[in-house]
Amino acid sequence: MTDNNLTLVLHGKMDLRLEEKPVLEPGNGEVQLSMRQVGICGSDVNIWVHGEHGGYIVDSPLALGHEGSAVIRKLGPGVTTLKVGDRVAVEPATPCRMCAFCKGGRYNLCPHVKGLAMPGCDGHLTRTFVMAADFCHKVPDNVSDGEAAMAEPMAVSVQATNRGGVKMGDTILICGAGPIGLLCMLTSKARGVHAVCITDIDERRLAFARELGADHTINVRGKSPQDVAAEVEELLGDKPNVTLECSGAQPSITTAVYATRSGGVVVLVGMGATTNEIPTAEASFRELDIRGTFRYVNCFQPALKLMSSGLVNVKPLMTHEFRLEDALQAFETARKGEGIKILINCHKETQGR
């Protein structure tokens, strides 16, 4: 098999294959990309293992990958904002640009949005890919290809902290010390918060969180939500005014509500079961705002600037790198829960970082 456009394609539950895909030409307003680094997300692992994700079933071959960086290879008609050779971070969703959500500045909520690597829309774990030019964000020279691939999960943390109203001087609780929880912590610190407490059930993840700057950590295994809430308050000296729930686990969601200061905000970042229980009286009497967050809107450029300015250093999270040819092994590694962020290098000529 040639591998001019080697692509990682999901055919169904537990059926991931490397195959050759045609190289597409860029249409109006599009660019052709030579993919560089693409990160694996928990949702990619989930859709592979279950053959479905968030209610969407994989019923025809779907290329995976949505956290990527690339180099512009060719410009489609009408593209003036980018040049061949530009390094870009790919924002993996194209909205309709015409509905009230799009015009109102919330294109992430567009009902017609096409999200990469979701059924019906191929992802970019491939060598050559076509994307709308205005969803390819130029990468500053001092940000590497791998870091640029991290712009996507960083954008999630920018959006989550925006939704929480995280600002200078705040006290923050983050539930879950996986990649998203850790990035939310780094982004909160960049926003000038006073202190961050982070929880998890895995001691290794908590140790890593401390290395990255967590002021306090709590291992919540076996503890009740109310007990954890009390411990959070004791460690921080106050209840946190914003809690970013990044695990999606029911007990953790309950904890978030009990732990947050009256008048504060709980942001539900983590995705677990479709329905959860919430202590509504607690939330209501103490005027807690409970807000969801969906992907990101206008967050890629802030994310890239945070990395370029040094306010956020994501390099410690980039623990593994594989070549595209070894993508199946990369996914197995992710499934075993090893490391934090696994990157797949999709460029044929380069080896290593």
Partner: protein, 351 residues
Amino acid sequence: MTDINLTAVLFEQNDLRMEDCPIPTPGPGQVLLEMKEVGICGSDVHYWTHGRIGDFVLKAPMVLGHEASAIVSKLGEGVTTLKVGDRVAIEPGVPCRKCNYCKTGRYNLCLEMKFCATPPYDGNLARFYVHDADFCFKLPDHVSFEEGALLEPLSVAVHATNRAGVKLGNTVLVCGAGPIGLLNILTAKAKGAAFVCATDLDASRLEMAKKLGADFTVQVTSRDPLVTVQAIEEALGDKADIAIECSGAAPSLKTAIYATKSGGVVVLVGLGQEMVEMPVVNAGVREVDIRGIFRYVNCYPTALAMIASGKVNVKPLVTHRFKLEESIKAFEAAKRGEGIKIMISCDRKKE
């Protein structure tokens, strides 16, 4: 001359002519519109008499008109939100949809904005016109074409009151009782402002302001802003929470600032001289925010809902009506400052 697509074309300053132009074809995502009513705006008159507004300079012939309503006549490829025969109000500015201004919900600030009758883009004072379908808003059966055309200046008032933060219980000062000032009075009241005071040089404009809901009016008789401010404070019993300045006249801008409470907001809607003296220290130490507005953004649906529900009645603003063939007469009347809103009917005369 045939008049199948009779069009009002401004060739250069002071040279407005009626021409028959080819009927345009709608592209993907666009619709061909049979124009119905088009209102004249001060800016249309200004391009005619001055050939420019600020940095926007007329360099080639341009069709005037941007406050308009129409009937959908043909669909371009891919249009699913409208059908032939739909009655629509036209939001006259189509942005690029891709820049950061567009994506952050402030498409009115898009640098590539294509706006009707702002050089170099043609307006819609014609029998036929093509526009992007998602900037055409379907009118309920009970909303007239004239009301549809008035959605444009009403949207200016929606945007201005949004930027001003007008809310329930506020006291609002509206400086200038021309069409824009009057629409701001209507909108402020619709948003629940408790008291609205209007100022103007002209007593008859203030009478209309009262008819449309102003609780108090102050006729400006002195060039000294403080004299006007005193009259306003006497009428309202206090300074205003918010001032919406719709005249662009320097003394009026000063009045607006002095007459606004500490912590309040002054919105500059009226456009006058490029440089205007303002009491910035007074505004600064009293934390009076001064905000500009530019056209409107995401306001057409709100404006339409206000009219469709009957919360706002804009019909009294239409004082003069002309046919498209008589456009030059209509513009002459506008230039003389007659009436409030002059409407031009674009239907072809039926023999």
